[in-house]
Each structure stands twice: as structure tokens, then as C-alpha cells.
């Protein structure tokens, strides 16, 4: 039965949890260390994913595909433009005439435009639609849809670069989630064991509590608080190490890899610390809950 707890009683719970943490100091340190390592690994992968995501977003913004057109009438071209805009995931469609394409080519060649001499009167370029996708993840499917439209002769986009970047992002996220889940589980079991030792050490007190009419929650609370404290301290340790490490890593890497759009430490680290604190608390509470449920039988 869950009943409202008086502030004075909470004082007893915290005192009880505190003295237990001190009494089992080695297990306390082991639990905090495990939670800290688990959350540290998670944090590293989160920071990697955020930064690769930033790079992907930058590439994404630049990812566009070019649909070269067959020899079609202006009426057919207008219809094709409408069809392109109707494809799901298409953000923008821009028509590029042969003349505009030629001008761009000239600009691109710049000082070397003499290589194009002789072609001015016989522009070999084709009309095209430049299609920008809402997300790089959808470029492949949009390209396939565009290629199927009547009037489109060829579709070109930086397929390999986009796909590689996307697969790296997916892999980092996947490995990060997998590793974190494994380590979080390990941390939970270590916390459960720490609490189990506490429960064992205090079994006499617990049995007396039950005989003198304490509620199940009165017995449980100190252990839940103990798990919560272990999880939170682990998260604080992990967040501190991450904040310090990321701050210095960004400072030194920004100079070494200037093209990479590193995400600024603030407010990223604040959000990360908050997420780790919540996760640490969750790991602690679930870990101790497992023990309390299994070994207290209350």
C-alpha cells in the first residue's frame, strides 16, 4: 500500500540510505563506477552521433539531385515540374535551362574557360530540373521516383557520399544504443547486487519493521533512495568527465579538422547532462527495485 509520507519520515529514509552507502563503501564505489562508465560510453556515442548528425545535416542541406530532361515541349516540362513537386519528400524543384547551365559551367571553369572554346554556338548541355530533398535519407527513393517520370532522361546525385555518410550515422547510433543498453543493464545488475547486500545486512531490521507494522513502502523507500543516489552520483561523474573531455576535444579538433561543423559545447552539454542524470536515476531506481522486489518479499 502506498501512503503519503511525512517529511520527518523522509528524513529517516535518507539517513538510513546514507548510512548504508557509507557502510558498504566498496560496493557503493563499484556501483557508482559502473554507472559512470555506462553513462560515459553512452555520452561519448551521443556526442559522436550529434556531431556526425551535424555533418550529415550540412551535407543534407547540400544534397540535391539533377534530372536531365529529354527533348520535351514547354507544356510537357510544366507538367513534369508539377509531377516532381508532387513526389513525397521533395522540398524544392528548380528548372535550369540550357543557357543557365552553360553560364554555370563557365563560372565553374573560371580562368580555364578557354577549354570550352568552340562550344558557345553549339551548347551541348541538356535542360534539367534540380530537385532538393527534405532529408538526405530520402534522396535514393526520390531519385528512383524521378527516374520513372516521362520526359526524364537521366538522374544524377552524389549517391555514394550520401549513402556512406548515412550508413556511418546509422552505425554510430546503432553501436551506441547497443553498447549503452548492455552497459546500462550491467550497471542495473551491479546496483541490484549492492542493494541486495544492503538488504541482507539489514534483514534483521527489515523483519522487525514488518513485525512492528511498517508499510511495504516504508521498508522499500531507503533502498530506492540508495539506488537513486548511486545512479545520480554515477551520472554526475560521467557528465563531468564528458563535459571536460568534449570541451577540450572540440578546442583541439576544430583547428585540426576545420571543415567539420562541431556542435558548440553549450547548451549541448547541459542537455546531455540532464539526459544522463535522468538515465542514471532510472538505472538506480530500477536496479534497486529489482532487488527490493526479489529479496524483501514486501
Amino acid at each position: 500500500m502506498f501512503t503519503m509520507v511525512k517529511p520527518r519520515t523522509f528524513g529517516y529514509f535518507f539517513q538510513s540510505a546514507g548510512s548504508s552507502l557509507v557502510r558498504n563503501s566498496w560496493m557503493t564505489l563499484a556501483s557508482i563506477g559502473t554507472v559512470a562508465v555506462a553513462l560515459l560510453v553512452l555520452g561519448v556515442f551521443m556526442l559522436l552521433a550529434v556531431n556526425i548528425g551535424a555533418m550529415a545535416a550540412q551535407v543534407e542541406a547540400q544534397v540535391e539531385l539533377t534530372a536531365y530532361l529529354a527533348d520535351i515541349s514547354s507544356q510537357q516540362r510544366s507538367q513534369l515540374e508539377a509531377e516532381l513537386k508532387a513526389i513525397p519528400g521533395v522540398a524544392e524543384v528548380t528548372f535550369v535551362s540550357r543557357e543557365e547551365a552553360w553560364q554555370k559551367l563557365l563560372e565553374w571553369y573560371g580562368d580555364n574557360r578557354h577549354f570550352l572554346a568552340g562550344w558557345e554556338d553549339d551548347n551541348p548541355l541538356r535542360e534539367a530540373f534540380v530537385v532538393r530533398a527534405e532529408s538526405a535519407f530520402r534522396v535514393g527513393e526520390i531519385a528512383a521516383a524521378v527516374a520513372r517520370l516521362r520526359g526524364v532522361e537521366e538522374v544524377i546525385y552524389g549517391r555514394e557520399i550520401v549513402e556512406q555518410l548515412l550508413s556511418i550515422t546509422r552505425a554510430v547510433r546503432g553501436v551506441g544504443i547497443g553498447l549503452t543498453a548492455g552497459l546500462a543493464l550491467a550497471a542495473m545488475f551491479i546496483i541490484a547486487n549492492t542493494i541486495r547486500i544492503t538488504v541482507f545486512a539489514r534483514r534483521r531490521e527489515i523483519s522487525i519493521m514488518r513485525y512492528v507494522g511498517a508499510t511495504a513502502w516504508f521498508v522499500r523507500w531507503p533502498f530506492i533512495i540508495e539506488g537513486l543516489v548511486l545512479g545520480l552520483i554515477g551520472a554526475v561523474v560521467a557528465s563531468s568527465v564528458l563535459a571536460w573531455g568534449y570541451y577540450f576535444a572540440v578546442r583541439s579538433l576544430a583547428a585540426a579538422i576545420p571543415f567539420w561543423p562541431f556542435v558548440a559545447p553549450w547548451p549541448l552539454l547541459q542537455s546531455l547532462a540532464l539526459a544522463l542524470l535522468c538515465l542514471g536515476a532510472l538505472i538506480g531506481v530500477v536496479g534497486s527495485g529489482m532487488s527490493v522486489r526479489r529479496y524483501l518479499d514486501v
Partner: protein, 229 residues
């Protein structure tokens, strides 16, 4: 107050019944000795009364209500009307006499003022007021059991269940403890004691329920330990 009707108890994994078709009533204000050899079912009966266990068959009622059907809240309120005393005292070694007795009030949310008032009163009743700052290790067996009794009675329970309360104390102290129980009973508290202490039972001449292999073989109003059924 509490009635048992055809109550049997079989522990999981055991082929034998710890209690067999026990029918008895404990009236309000009664003093009952449960006697019998080890394994006769005395402790099982006490644990069923505390509703630590449920009977395998039969019904136990408290003031007409089936204990097995109590909700979580009802069970908690029921247990708070009971004081438990154990053979091994079950005191917390790191707490003083005062703190051990206060613990029974703390866990049910009594205020510090009420604890400061009730605990010395209980310790005075058991004759340990001058030892309230001592730790259990500094007390004799008899004194430790007095602390256990003070803890059981500090909440003024309706019923005290004691399992071999004199099992770990010398005969002189055992007699004093029994006299203490008798005094608590005279003040209106119902008392059920499981014991081997035949001389104490003979001396106090209270109701005696004798168990053998889980069955009641004798239930006399003012009997001795060794009367034949």
C-alpha cells in the same frame, strides 16, 4: 476476539501438516499458553495469528472477519494491533534501548513528542527506565527480553504474541518476565505465549492449549503444563 475453525497448515514442499484441523477461540483479555514439544505447531499457530502465513484450509477470523480476506490496508491495521515478542529478542544492536523501543513508533509515523512520552512510560513498566541509553550488548538476556516486551507493548496493542519468550533467559528472569506478561494482561491486553517453560505455566495457572503433531490434545481453563488430557 480471534477464532480458528478447522485450520490446517502445510508448508510448501512438506508432506506433513504442521497444523491439523485446529479449532479454538482466543477471547478478549485472555492469557493463553500454547504448549507442546518442538515441532508440535506452536510457532506455526502464532504465525497464522499474525497472518504471516495463510492457512492451507480452514478459516481464522478476527472480530468476525476472515483474516485471509483482509486488504493490504486492513492487514496493516490488524498487525498494528499486535505486539510480537521473540525468543531471540530481535533487538537492533546499533540502537540504544530507547531507540529500539522508539523504532516501533517511528515506523508507523508517531511524532517525536509522542515518542519521547511513550517510550519512557513503556520502559518504566518493564523496569528498565534507568537503562534506556544502554545498548543491547550491555544488557543481560532477561533485560534484553524486557526491551523486546517494551517494544511490543509501547503501541498499547490489543494482543501480544510471544514465541518462547523465556527460552534464552535464566529461570529467575524467566519468572519475572512471566509476571510482567501477567501484569500486562491484567491491564487488558490479550496474551498468547508459546512456551516450553513448564514450571512457569504451572505457576501462573492460566489457560493452556497443548499441541501434539499439529493437533490440539488439551485445552484447559486454568491448567498446568503437565496435566494429562
Amino acid at each position: 476476539m480471534i477464532s480458528l475453525n478447522e485450520v490446517s497448515k502445510r508448508y510448501p514442499g512438506s508432506r506433513e501438516l504442521a497444523l491439523q484441523s485446529v479449532t479454538m477461540t482466543v477471547g478478549s483479555g485472555e492469557f493463553v499458553f500454547l504448549v507442546g514439544q518442538s515441532g508440535a505447531g506452536k510457532s506455526t499457530l502464532l504465525r497464522l495469528l499474525f497472518r504471516e502465513y495463510l492457512p492451507s484450509s480452514g478459516v481464522i477470523t478476527y472480530r468476525g472477519r476472515n483474516l485471509a480476506r483482509f486488504s493490504g490496508g486492513e492487514l496493516l491495521r490488524y498487525r498494528r494491533k499486535i505486539g510480537m515478542v521473540f525468543q531471540d529478542f530481535r533487538l537492533l544492536k546499533q540502537k540504544t534501548v530507547f531507540e529500539n523501543v522508539a523504532f516501533a513508533l517511528e515506523v508507523v509515523g508517531h511524532s517525536p513528542q509522542s515518542i519521547r512520552k511513550s517510550v519512557p512510560a513503556a520502559l518504566e513498566e518493564v523496569g528498565l527506565l534507568d537503562r534506556m541509553l544502554a545498548f543491547p550488548a550491555e544488557l543481560s538476556g532477561g533485560e534484553q527480553q524486557r526491551v523486546g516486551i517494551a517494544r511490543a507493548m509501547v503501541r498499547k496493542p490489543q494482543l501480544i504474541l510471544a514465541d518462547e519468550p523465556t527460552g534464552n533467559v535464566d529461570p529467575d528472569n524467566a519468572l519475572q518476565l512471566m509476571e510482567l506478561f501477567a501484569a500486562i494482561n491484567r491491564a487488558g491486553t490479550t496474551i498468547v505465549i508459546a512456551t516450553h517453560a513448564s514450571d512457569m505455566v504451572d505457576r501462573l495457572r492460566q489457560r493452556v492449549v497443548q499441541l501434539e503433531r499439529g493437533r490440539i490434545i488439551r485445552d484447559v481453563k486454568r491448567g498446568g503444563y503437565s496435566n494429562e488430557p
